[in-house]
C-alpha cells in the first residue's frame, strides 16, 4: 500500500472542513481541519508512524481513541511552553500548533536505536538484572549513562513555565464521573431530584462513545439525545458541567481531584490570561462512576505494527474525523461489537473483512455485516503480520484456523491489508473504583473485572459497572442518580433501542506461525515493549506474584499505566500457569487515572505566593536602608546594614562597636509574644518553665527555660509579670507559634482546671531594642518625664507608659550585655516610633544593628541561643544553666526525664568557651574536637563548636562549644582537625565580656 492521504471525501462529525488549520509535525508543515486531533490530522496525511516504543524503538502508530493511547505520544509547544508525552489522540488541533515525535534519533522514520529490536532476543525482561555487572565501575560510567540516554520519552521544557494554574474547592451532593450516556442519565436524574451535581468528562465533547455506538434513545439517535441532555445540564443552576476534565483520583472520605485542561486547546485563552489548568478539589457526598470501558487489544504476533488499531478507534477515525485507517483492512475480534467497525468502514467505502476467533458469529451485528457482503472468517485468528515500507506499514497478514486453547498454527493463508482493527473485548474503567480500596470481581461472561463492594458512598453505572446493554445502562444510571440525590427525580429512565450483542469468547493469546511463542512478539504492554513471552519468563523464573511479574517485566508501568495491557497480561499469565485470572490477582490501581501536571498541583502557590513572607512594621525601612535580609522562620530580618563600599563584615563590626560604645537599635518585633492571663497563670507557668514564676513580682522580668517532655531544651525567653494574674512571655522568633500551641495543648489536655487564657500577640506589637551605654539618653530625649533611672527601672523590670503619642511597654532586658530597653508599641504605630527613635538617637550616634551583630554581642556575653548551643538533645545542665532548673518544684515539663540515666550521666557534652591559640583564627562553625589527632580518619570526636565569631570588642576570635565533660576540662587545649590543618583552642568559661554584669546595672 502506498503512503497516501487517508482523508475521506465525506463524513467526520467533529471536523469543520471549511476551517483549515495549519500545524507542524516534526517540523513538517501540515494542514488539518478545525476539530481534528493531532492523531487524526497526521493520519489524514498518510503518516502511519507517530512514535517509537520505549525499549526496542519499534515504529508505532495510533492504537487508541483517547486517553488509553500508549504509542502515539508527542511533545507539543516550544521552549518553556513545551509539554512532552501527550497522547496525540487527545491533543486538539489549533492553528500554529507544533508537535514533535519522541524517543527517536535522528528521525521518526529512521531511528538508529531500532537496532535494539534486532538484538531483542538478548534483551528479555529483566536482562539488566543479569548483566552489566562487570567490570564493577562500568555500571556508573558506561552502562548506566547509556541506558539513561536511551530511556525516557519526551524532553522536558526549558525555563520557567510562563503559564498560570489555579485550584478550586467545591462540595457537591453528587459527582458524576464521565459524561457518556450513563453519566448523562445519572446526572439528569440527580439534577432533577434537586441535588447539587458536578459532571466531568475528560473529552472535549460529552457523549462518550454514543456517536459511534449506533442505536437510539427515547426514539432519537443517541447523539441528539446527548446534545439535548448536555444542553439541559449546562442550563441547570445546580450543576457544574466540566468538559476536558479528568477525574484523576479518589481519596478517603470521597475526596476527589478533577484535572481541567482549561486552555491547552486554545492559545488565545492563554494569551488572555486564562489559567492553563485548573485542579478541582471536590468533596462529594456521593460519587457515580460512569467512566465507561476501554477496549482490549489482542495479543497476536507483531500486533504492534503501525496500522494495528483498536476497533473502536478505527471506527471513530472515520466517524469523527473522516479519516480512514487505511485502504484495506481486517477487523480481528472475539466479540460482536467490532462488527460495528466493519460496518462503519464498509459504509465509508473502506475495504474490510472480519476475522473472528469464535466458532459462531450470529448476533445482529455479524448478521448485518454478512448481509452487507463483508467477508467473515470465523474460528480464525491473525497469526502473522508482514510489514511494508521498511517496517513503517503493514503489507499483509496471515489468517489461520483457530480453536479455543490451540497452542500453535496448523494452516494459514495470506490476506492483503494495510491496517487491522482489533477488539479483544472491553474492560470496565474501574480505576477510580479501586483508588480508595473498592473491591472488584471477575465476571466470566465479560471476561473482565467489574466493581464489587466499596465502603464509600460510590456507585458504578453503565460500562464502568460492566453493564453494556444500552437500556440496562440507562436504567441503572437513572436509578443511581436518584439514589445519590436521595430523592425521586419525577422522571422515568430513558428507553433505548440497540442491536443485541452475543457473548464474547476470551482470546488472551493468538498463536503464531512456527513453534509456540518463539521469535514472534505478542505485545501486551506496547509502550514498554513487554510481550507475552516476557510475562511467561517472569513466571518461569519464580516472579510468580502478579506484582513481581509487573515489576520484573515493567508491564503496566508505562504512561498508560496498563489501561490496555493489564487484563491481557493477566489472561496470558492465567493460561501459562493454568490458574484462573482471579487466582493470578490484580495489581493495585493507584492515582492518577491519567497523568496530570505538577503545575496544577502547585496551583497559585508559586513564586511570590509559594510561602508568604512575614514582615515587621519596619521592614520597608530596613530595605530602604540597604539592609541585607535573611529568612528567620517565616520572617525576613535585617542581617546587617552595610553602607556604600562597606562589606558585610565591616558593617557587622561597626554595628557591634556602636552598641558597645554608643547605642544601637534593633527591630526585635519578630520575637514571639504570648500573653498568659488568669488566676492560675503563675502556677501554669511553673509547670511550663524549669524555673519558678509564681515568685516573680509584678513589674519584674525573668529569663525562663522551657523543656520538652524528653528533658531537652526547646525554647527560652524573658517573661514579664504585667499584673498578678497576667504575664507576657517572650519566645524565640521561630518558636512563637509552636510554643503558643504547646502551652494551649498542656492547658487543655493535662491541666484543664487551670483558669488561664493563652493569647499569642506577636503580630500585635512592634518591639525595638535600644541597646548601648547611651540608651537611656535616647529614651529620655523621646520622653523626658518617663522614669528611667536605674533605681526606678532597674535591670529586669518593666513599665507601661507613653513615649510621646506612643503607648508603650518598656522592658529593661538585654541580650547584648549592655544597658538596654526593649520598647513595645502597637504594631500599627511601630514605624512611627521607630522613626522617632532614629531621629532622637542621631545626636548620640545611634545606628541600627542586624541579627548578626546581635549574635556576636550575645556570644561575647556567653548567652546561649536555643538552636545554636542546643540541638534538640541538650539539657539545661549541658549548657550550664543548672541554676534555672528548680529543685523545689515537684513537677515541671521535662523534669522527670532529666532523671533518666543517660540525661544525668556525667560524661555528657557541656557548654564551654574556646579561645584559639591564634587569636586571628576563627574556628569554623560546627567543627569537631577530637580526643586524639591522627594522620587520617576516623578520629574519636568529643564535641563541637556551637557558635564562633571574630569579636571586634575583644579584638580576637571567640567560640562556644559543647565538649564531652567540658566543665571539668577548664584550661585544657583541644585540637580541631580541619582540612589541611589542626586548630588548637583552650577551654575557658563561656563568658567573654563583662563577666560581672557591671554594664547591665548602670
Amino acid at each position: 500500500m502506498s503512503n497516501k492521504p487517508y482523508r475521506l471525501a465525506h463524513g467526520g462529525s467533529r471536523i469543520d472542513r471549511a476551517r483549515k488549520v495549519s500545524f507542524t509535525f516534526d517540523g513538517k508543515h501540515l494542514t488539518g481541519f478545525a476539530g481534528d486531533t493531532v492523531a487524526a490530522a497526521v493520519m489524514a496525511t498518510g503518516q502511519r508512524v507517530l512514535g517509537r516504543s520505549f525499549k526496542y524503538h519499534r515504529p508505532r502508530g495510533v492504537v487508541g481513541l483517547g486517553s488509553e493511547e500508549m504509542n502515539a505520544l508527542v511533545g507539543v509547544g516550544d521552549g518553556a511552553r513545551h509539554e512532552p508525552n501527550l497522547r496525540a489522540t487527545q491533543v486538539e488541533l489549533y492553528d500554529g500548533l507544533t508537535a514533535v515525535s519522541q524517543n527517536r534519533w535522528p528521525s521518526l522514520d529512521f531511528d538508529v536505536s531500532a537496532i535494539n529490536n534486532k538484538f531483542s532476543r538478548l534483551f528479555p525482561s529483566g536482562f539488566y538484572y543479569k548483566t552489566f555487572m562487570w567490570p564493577k565501575r562500568f555500571w556508573k560510567h558506561v552502562y548506566e549513562p547509556f541506558i539513561r540516554r536511551a530511556a525516557g520519552l519526551g524532553k522536558a521544557p526549558v525555563g520557567r513555565d510562563p503559564d498560570t494554574y489555579e485550584q478550586i474547592h467545591v462540595h457537591c451532593d453528587v459527582l458524576v464521573v464521565g459524561a457518556g450516556v450513563a453519566g448523562l442519565a445519572a446526572a439528569e436524574a440527580a439534577t432533577a431530584a434537586g441535588a447539587r451535581v458536578i459532571i466531568a468528562d475528560e473529552n472535549p465533547l460529552f457523549g462518550g462513545l454514543a456517536d459511534i455506538a449506533g442505536g437510539t434513545i427515547d426514539g432519537r439517535p443517541q447523539t441528539e439525545w446527548v446534545k439535548e441532555k448536555t444542553q439541559a445540564l449546562a442550563e441547570a443552576e445546580n450543576v457544574h458541567v466540566l468538559s476536558r476534565t479528568t477525574v484523576v483520583g479518589h481519596w478517603h472520605h470521597n475526596h476527589l481531584m478533577l484535572f481541567e485542561r482549561v486552555a491547552d486547546h486554545d492559545p488565545a485563552l492563554l494569551a488572555a490570561g486564562t489559567p492553563r489548568h485548573r485542579l478541582w478539589k471536590v468533596r462529594a457526598a456521593y460519587v457515580i462512576l460512569a467512566s465507561g470501558a476501554i477496549e482490549r487489544p489482542i495479543a497476536f504476533a507483531n500486533n504492534d505494527r503501525p496500522g494495528v488499531m483498536l476497533a473502536s478507534a478505527a471506527r471513530a477515525m472515520v466517524e469523527r474525523y473522516g479519516v480512514a485507517p487505511g485502504a484495506q483492512g481486517v477487523v480481528f475480534t472475539n466479540n460482536d461489537d467490532a462488527y460495528l467497525t466493519a460496518l462503519t468502514l464498509h459504509m465509508a467505502g473502506v475495504g474490510i473483512r472480519v476475522v473472528d476467533s469464535r466458532a459462531r458469529a450470529e448476533g445482529e451485528l455479524p448478521n448485518a455485516a454478512r448481509a452487507a457482503g463483508i467477508d467473515i472468517a470465523t474460528s480464525s485468528i491473525i497469526s502473522a503480520v508482514h510489514t511494508s515500507l521498511g517496517g513503517l506499514g503493514i503489507g499483509d497478514v496471515k489468517v489461520a484456523a483457530y480453536r479455543r486453547g490451540q497452542g500453535r498454527v496448523i494452516s494459514e493463508r495470506k490476506v492483503e491489508c494495510d491496517f487491522i482493527a482489533m477488539s479483544g473485548g472491553w474492560n470496565p474503567a474501574l480505576h477510580l473504583w479501586c483508588h480508595n480500596g473498592g473491591k472488584i470481581r471477575f465476571d466470566d461472561a465479560l471476561q473482565a473485572f467489574r466493581p464489587d463492594r466499596h465502603a464509600d458512598a460510590i456507585a458504578a453505572v453503565g460500562a464502568a459497572n460492566g453493564t453494556f446493554e444500552l437500556s440496562n445502562m440507562l436504567a441503572e444510571a437513572h436509578a443511581a442518580g436518584e439514589k445519590a440525590a436521595g430523592k425521586p427525580s419525577g422522571r422515568v429512565a430513558p428507553i433505548a433501542e440497540q442491536p443485541k450483542q452475543k457473548r464474547l469468547e476470551a482470546l488472551w493469546f493468538a498463536p503464531a506461525t512456527g513453534k509456540y511463542n518463539e521469535g514472534n512478539k505478542h505485545f501486551i504492554d506496547f509502550q514498554n515493549d513487554v510481550t507475552a513471552a516476557d510475562l511467561e519468563l517472569a513466571q518461569r523464573e519464580g516472579y510468580e506474584s502478579v506484582e513481581h511479574t509487573k515489576r520484573y517485566t515493567t508491564f503496566g508501568m508505562a504512561t498508560d499505566q496498563g489501561k490496555t495491557s493489564n487484563i491481557n497480561g493477566l489472561g496470558v499469565l492465567a493460561e501459562a500457569t493454568g490458574k484462573t485470572i482471579p487466582e493470578i490477582g490484580v495489581t493495585t490501581f493507584r492515582p492518577p487515572y491519567t497523568p496530570f501536571s505538577f503545575g496544577a498541583i502547585a496551583g497559585t502557590l508559586t513564586k511570590k505566593l509559594f510561602l508568604p513572607i512575614r514582615r515587621t512594621a519596619v521592614y520597608q525601612w530596613h530595605v530602604d536602608r540597604g539592609a541585607v535580609v535573611e529568612p528567620v522562620g517565616q520572617w525576613r530580618r535585617a542581617y546587617t546594614y552595610p553602607r556604600t563600599a562597606e562589606d558585610k563584615h565591616a558593617a557587622i563590626n561597626r554595628e557591634i562597636l556602636c552598641v558597645r560604645n554608643k547605642v544601637g537599635l534593633l527591630d526585635a518585633s519578630t520575637l514571639g509574644k504570648i500573653e498568659i492571663k488568669g488566676p492560675d497563670a503563675a502556677e501554669f507557668l511553673d509547670r511550663m518553665y524549669t524555673n519558678t514564676f509564681s515568685t516573680l513580682k509584678v513589674g519584674r522580668c525573668r529569663y525562663g527555660l522551657m523543656l520538652n517532655e524528653l528533658g531537652f531544651l526547646t525554647d527560652d525567653g524573658v517573661t514579664v509579670r504585667l499584673a498578678d494574674d497576667h504575664f507576657l512571655m517572650h519566645t524565640t522568633s521561630g518558636g512563637a507559634d509552636r510554643i503558643a500551641a504547646w502551652l494551649e495543648e498542656w492547658l487543655q489536655t493535662e491541666w484543664p482546671h487551670y483558669r488561664v487564657f493563652v493569647t499569642p500577640v506577636t503580630e500585635q506589637w512592634s518591639q525595638f531594642a535600644i541597646a548601648g551605654p547611651r540608651a537611656r539618653e535616647v529614651l529620655a530625649k523621646l520622653a523626658p518625664d518617663f522614669e528611667l533611672s536605674n533605681e526606678a527601672l532597674p535591670h529586669m523590670t518593666f513599665r507601661e507608659g507613653r513615649l510621646g503619642p506612643y503607648p508603650v511597654r518598656v522592658y529593661r532586658i538585654s541580650f547584648s550585655g549592655e544597658l538596654s530597653y526593649e520598647v513595645a508599641t502597637p504594631a500599627n504605630l511601630g514605624r512611627g516610633l521607630w522613626d522617632e527613635i532614629v531621629e532622637a538617637g542621631r545626636e548620640f550616634g545611634l545606628e541600627p544593628y542586624g541579627t548578626e551583630a546581635l549574635h556576636v554581642l550575645r556570644a561575647e556575653k556567653g548567652y546561649i541561643v536555643v538552636g545554636d548551643e542546643t540541638d534538640g538533645t541538650t539539657t539545661p545542665y549541658d549548657v550550664g544553666l543548672d541554676g534555672l532548673v528548680s529543685k523545689k518544684k515537684a513537677d515541671f515539663l521535662g523534669k522527670r526525664s532529666l532523671q533518666q540515666p543517660h540525661l544525668k550521666s556525667t560524661d555528657r557534652k557541656q557548654l564551654v568557651g574556646l579561645l584559639t591559640e591564634d587569636p586571628n583564627e576563627v574556628l569554623p562553625d560546627g567543627a569537631y574536637a577530637v580526643k586524639e589527632v591522627k594522620d587520617k580518619p576516623p578520629m574519636e570526636m568529643i564535641g563541637q563548636v556551637t557558635s564562633t565569631y571574630m569579636s571586634p570588642t575583644l579584638g580576637r576570635s571567640i567560640a562556644m562549644a559543647l565538649i564531652q565533660n567540658g566543665r571539668a576540662r577548664m584550661g585544657e587545649t583541644l585540637s580541631f582537625p580541619l582540612e589541611g590543618k589542626v586548630v588548637r583552642a583552650k577551654i575557658v568559661e563561656p563568658v567573654f565580656y563583662d563577666k560581672e554584669g557591671a554594664k547591665l546595672n548602670v
Binding site: 555500571w139 522536558a156 523464573e541 493507584r590 505538577f598 550575645r858 538552636g867 587520617k936
Partner: protein, 417 residues
C-alpha cells in the same frame, strides 16, 4: 548454588528463547522446625537471612512473608542511598550499608544497580547551612567522603535548579556526598532472596504469622496460616506491621505506623543526574534510569495502615519542588503510592534483643529504610546468631528509650533571636 548470571548466560539462553532459566528462588513449603525464622521478606528480612546463612552458616532457617517478597516498603521507596548522618551511631550503620551496596551486585550476582550518582542536600536557610556544616565536620572526621559545595557548584551539578537569589528559599550551598546515590529497590529484595535461597534458606511467601508461641519468657515457635513452625529464634522485621507481630508476643513497642508517600512523573530524557534533597521545603527528587522523576514527600501525621496517604501531604512537596525546579511545572505526575512506615520516638531504628528470650527485632527505619538494608541485615544476622547486639547495632537497642539515650538526627527546628 545457582547458575551464575552473566552476559554469556544471557546469550546462551537467548539461543533457546530463554526457556531454560532457573527459578530465582524456590517456593518451598514450611518445614516443622527451623534454627531461626525471620518474619518479613522485605529487604531487611531477606538480607538478614542471607547473612545468617553466609556469615554465620545458619542455613536451616526460613523467612516467612504474609504477601509477596519485597512487597512492602522495599518496593515503595525513593531508592536513595546515603550515609551522611550526624550522629556517630547513625554514620556507622548507614556507612556500613552504603559500603556493602558498592559491591552488592557482584556479591549477589544480581545487578541491584547501585548508582553512586551523588546526593546533594540543599541548604536553604542559614540554620540549615550551619547544621550541614556541622555534619560535614563530623562526617569528615568519621572518614566519609562528603563536602560542602557552593551555589555555583550546585547549579553545575543540578542545572535545572532555581538559582534566583531572590526566591523564597535561595540556595545558600549544599552538602554533597558524591558516593551516595540510588539503587534498584526491587532488585535488592530479589537479589538477596535469590542469594539466600541459593544458600538453602526457605523463603515462604503467602504465609502470615498469627501467633507467637512462648514457653515462659522464651519463644518456641510461630503459628502461621500455613501451620505451626517450631523455632527458638525469631527475628521480626516487619516495618509498619511490627507492633501487630510484637503484640502477639506481648512485647510493647515505641512505634507508630504512618503513611509515607512517593510519586513518579512520566519518563523524560535525563534532566537531573543526582539525588537532590531539599529538607527546608520537605521534598526530594531524583531521576530513575527509566527517566521518571522520583519524588518523595512527608508522612501523614496520623496512624495509617491503608497504604494510601492524603493528597495535601504530597501537594506540599510538589509545590516546593515546582519552586525549586521550575521546569517540572509542565511535567505530569504518573503514579503516586504510599507505604506504611514505622516511626520510633527518636526517628532512629531499633535493632536488637527484646524482653523475651529468642525474640529479636529490627524495625523503626521509618523513612530511611532502603539505604540501610545491607548494613541492617548484616548486623541483625550477627545479633541473632550470637544472641548479643553487634557493636554497630548496640546503640540502637530497645533499652535506649528507658535510658533516654536517644539518637536524634533531627537537629532542632530553625530558631533564632
Amino acid at each position: 548454588m545457582k547458575p551464575r548470571y552473566s552476559v554469556f548466560s544471557l546469550a546462551r539462553n537467548a539461543m533457546n528463547y530463554h526457556k531454560d532459566w532457573e527459578r530465582a528462588w524456590r517456593s518451598p513449603n514450611p518445614k516443622p522446625e527451623y534454627d531461626a525464622v525471620i518474619v518479613g521478606a522485605g529487604g531487611h528480612g531477606l538480607a538478614t537471612a542471607y547473612y545468617l546463612a553466609k556469615n554465620h552458616q545458619m542455613t536451616n532457617i526460613a523467612v516467612v512473608e504474609k504477601g509477596w517478597l519485597g512487597g512492602g516498603n522495599t518496593g515503595r521507596n525513593t531508592t536513595i542511598i546515603r550515609s551522611n548522618y550526624l550522629q556517630d551511631a547513625s554514620i556507622a550503620i548507614y556507612e556500613l550499608a552504603r559500603s556493602l551496596y558498592e559491591n552488592l551486585s557482584q556479591e549477589l550476582n544480581f545487578n541491584v544497580m547501585f548508582s553512586p550518582r551523588g546526593v546533594v542536600m540543599l541548604c536553604q536557610t542559614e540554620h540549615e547551612f550551619r547544621a550541614f556544616k556541622r555534619t560535614a565536620h563530623a562526617n569528615r572526621l568519621a572518614g566519609l567522603d562528603c563536602r560542602m559545595i557552593t551555589p555555583a557548584e550546585v547549579k553545575e551539578i543540578v542545572p535545572i535548579i532555581n538559582d534566583d537569589s531572590n526566591c523564597r528559599y535561595p540556595i545558600l550551598g549544599a552538602y554533597y556526598q558524591p558516593r551516595g546515590g540510588t539503587g534498584r529497590h526491587d532488585a535488592v529484595a530479589w537479589g538477596y532472596a535469590r542469594g539466600a535461597d541459593g544458600l538453602g534458606v526457605d523463603i515462604i511467601q503467602n504465609c502470615e504469622v498469627i501467633g507467637i508461641q512462648r514457653d515462659g519468657n522464651r519463644v518456641t515457635g510461630l503459628e502461621t496460616t500455613r501451620g505451626t513452625i517450631r523455632t527458638r529464634k525469631i527475628g521480626v522485621v516487619t516495618a509498619g506491621h511490627v507492633s501487630t507481630i510484637m503484640d502477639m508476643a506481648g512485647q510493647r513497642m515505641p512505634i507508630e505506623s504512618q503513611c509515607l508517600q512517593a510519586l513518579v512523573s512520566e519518563p523524560i530524557k535525563p534532566v537531573i543526574d543526582c539525588v537532590v534533597m531539599a529538607n527546608t521545603v520537605h521534598g526530594y527528587i531524583s531521576q530513575s534510569d527509566k527517566g521518571e522523576l522520583v519524588i518523595g514527600g512527608g508522612t501523614d501525621s496520623y496512624n495509617n495502615y491503608s497504604q494510601r496517604g492524603s493528597f495535601p501531604a504530597l501537594e506540599h512537596t510538589i509545590t516546593a519542588l515546582v519552586e525549586t525546579f521550575p521546569i517540572i511545572s509542565r511535567l505530569r505526575m504518573l503514579r503516586m503510592w504510599g507505604g506504611i512506615v514505622d516511626m520510633t520516638g527518636d526517628r532512629s531504628p531499633i535493632i536488637g534483643k527484646t524482653d523475651i528470650d529468642g525474640l529479636y527485632v529490627n524495625c523503626g527505619w521509618g523513612t530511611g529504610g532502603f539505604k540501610s538494608i545491607p548494613g541492617s541485615g548484616f548486623v541483625f544476622a550477627d545479633t541473632i546468631a550470637n544472641d548479643r547486639p553487634h557493636p554497630i547495632a548496640e546503640p540502637f537497642g530497645l533499652n535506649r528509650f528507658a535510658e533516654g539515650r536517644l539518637i536524634d538526627e533531627s537537629v532542632a527546628a530553625a530558631v533564632a533571636h
